[in-house]
């Protein structure tokens, strides 16, 4: 059983397009996250979402928006894709926010042509 699953695993698209990445967790966690791993290999937090509260990293462009239909899902929508958006995007989840470890999906490699 995959605990945190992301689809698609690979996404190749052109500049200017709008795309979505889906994330689902079956761990019963109530907090989900999106991270971006750039070309320098740093993993950086983009969003943290807990039920009703969304915390956004201030460096994230507003072209990126998370959507949570329910506690088990946190999808990432990206509008007007740019070359610099090429990266690997990781979804994660954790149990509450009390210093609990986060569990990661296998990532989505986004390539912008």
């Amino acid at each position: 059983d995959t605990a945190v699953s992301q689809t698609p695993k690979y996404l190749v698209t052109q500049m200017g397009n709008d795309k979505s990445i889906k994330c689902e967790q079956n761990l019963g966690h109530d907090t989900m996250y999106w991270y971006k791993q750039d070309s320098k290999k740093f993993l950086k937090i983009m969003f943290s979402y807990n039920n009703k509260e969304l915390i956004i990293n201030e460096t994230v462009p507003n072209r990126f928006s998370p959507k949570s239909p329910d506690k088990a899902h946190l999808n990432l929508h990206i509008n007007s894709l740019e070359l610099g958006d090429s990266a690997v995007y990781f979804c994660a989840s954790s149990k509450g926010r009390q210093n609990q470890p986060q569990h990661f999906g296998d990532g989505t490699r986004l390539s912008i042509l």
């Binding site: 290999k41 740093f42 509260e53 926010r97």
Partner: protein, 113 residues
């Protein structure tokens, strides 16, 4: 501004010996630290964590040491096994995890037979 630094991009260790991975941090607000292991094309997998009020945590072959005064932590793996070959990320967290984790750049551990 790198708040978490892993200064060794790679480390080679013989099978059966001890592997020591190091991590330095600058953010005094971190109240817990984690180590993750990552294989290619997979997401980071949680290994072990330590609260900032402790100086050691042990789990099987893995031990994490924290020196708060030096803002330094290390991961010891004893004995090292071929399956331990992977990239290891150090991360710091605060605020109960609401702001996400801050990761280092990773150290590629290679276990030589």
């Amino acid at each position: 501004d790198q708040q978490v630094k892993q200064n060794s991009p790679s480390l080679s260790v013989q099978e059966g010996r001890i592997s020591i991975l190091n991590c330095d941090y600058t953010n005094s607000m971190f109240d817990y630290f984690l180590w993750y292991k990552k294989y290619p094309a997979e997401g980071p997998t949680f290994l072990i964590s330590i609260s900032s009020i402790k100086d050691k945590n042990e789990d099987g072959r893995f031990t994490v040491f924290l020196n708060k005064s030096a803002k330094h932590l290390s991961l010891h793996i004893v004995p090292s096994q071929p399956g331990d070959s992977a990239v290891y990320f150090c991360a710091g967290g605060s605020g109960g995890g609401a702001d996400g984790l801050t990761f280092g750049k990773g150290t590629h551990l290679i276990i030589q037979p």
